[in-house]
Symmetry: C2
Subunit: 193 residues, 2 copies
DNA sequence: ACGTGCACTTGACATAGGACAGGAAATGGA
DNA sequence: TCCATTTCCTGTCCTATGTCAAGTGCACGT
């Protein structure tokens, strides 16, 4: 396991010369995470930020009635952490859990701050990365308003077919904001068409 | 009208020495915005980022059924723009509209990029500002899941009483994700208590 | 290969919340 | 000042979704 895909991910967000990139990824360390185990638990402060080399991770929390609600999926080659808790140093309100066995590259808050300080390119990467995360969140908020659950389901499995393969439908349903029975009915309708 | 409150806002997010702060705010220009007029219309690219000196601004879009949905309120002393459109240079999906007469300090995308390049402190301010915006969005998403409309209504008017004074209830209702008739019923219940 | 437990589907039923419409009160323009 | 418009409240009705429960099929461990 080497850092190539992490370097590619960073280069895609902010192109830089290879030696700089090597410097940026220097503090990232490998981690193996077993299926169903936790990267972060609600109530604790998120202290690591993970780039997912293989596997799928999700974050979830509980709604008013105590139902589990999946707030995000993090497939392979994405960046996963509770940014709110990580940067604000406040207790997380979400759980982050591996859906499959995962391998990640992670960096601690302290190392990230040090690297922010030492490497201007890392700072700029950090800024662009947050803009991206903000965009994803905002797009999701808007699509929740502006698209039907059916369209959002189709968009999701189109853009990330691996999620459909590896994630229980109940997680997908709660991510879409509907009951698993409703998703079941949507799938039934979709097959008809 | 001087830039004191803008400088205070910036100093609060990232303290810096006064001459630096002066440099940071240099490119901000004043604008007066009439009640009900638009700062940004959906379909166009957001090219200005506003700090609100006086007045209240809101952003809104339309849901599936064509209903107006208020996506955010920007009271006095906050920072308002469609960050998604502004940074990604994509057409906005939202309208940004003055609820009252407003005075703002704004900076264009080009000037901001130039200042990002020239002033390291501005870059860092930009990064912290996005973290804040991300946090606000995420907190809002979570409170939509985890709190009743009644609690969210009370939280809103507690933290920003001026909104209740100056904003039509129907905007507040759509911001809370409920019909204006439902908000009316909530208010009725609240009075009883 | 047997049993236990998930994952998923489906039907019957209940209900929270929205749509709609009517009316009172407040606001604003001429 | 008066009329038009908008805001807000409230009653009735209705429907989209969720809840619950039952049943099938599959995967996994022993």
């Amino acid at each position: 396991m080497n850092k190539d895909s992490l370097i590619q991910f960073i280069q895609k967000i902010l192109p830089m010369n290879p030696s700089r990139a090597a410097q940026v990824v220097e503090k990232f360390k490998p981690m193996k995470i077993e299926k169903n185990s936790y990267v972060l638990k609600a109530g604790t402060v998120c202290n690591e930020s993970h780039f997912i080399e293989t596997g799928i991770i999700r974050s979830y929390t509980y709604d008013l009635d105590g139902n589990e609600v999946t707030t995000a999926f993090y497939p392979t080659n994405t960046y996963s952490s509770d940014l709110l808790s990580f940067f604000k140093r406040t207790p997380a309100k979400e759980y982050i859990q591996a859906i499959t066995d995962c391998e990640t590259w992670y960096i601690t808050y302290e190392d990230m701050q040090a690297s922010f300080h030492a490497i201007p390119e890392f700072r700029e990467f950090g800024r662009l990365n947050i803009v991206n995360q903000y965009s994803i969140l905002k797009e999701r908020m808007l699509s929740n308003l502006q698209e039907t659950a059916e369209k959002r389901y189709n968009d999701l499995i189109h853009s990330h077919p691996e999620i459909l393969q590896q994630v229980p439908l109940k997680y997908i349903a709660s991510y879409l904001g509907i009951a698993d029975t409703s998703l079941s009915r949507i799938r039934k309708e979709t097959v008809k068409k």
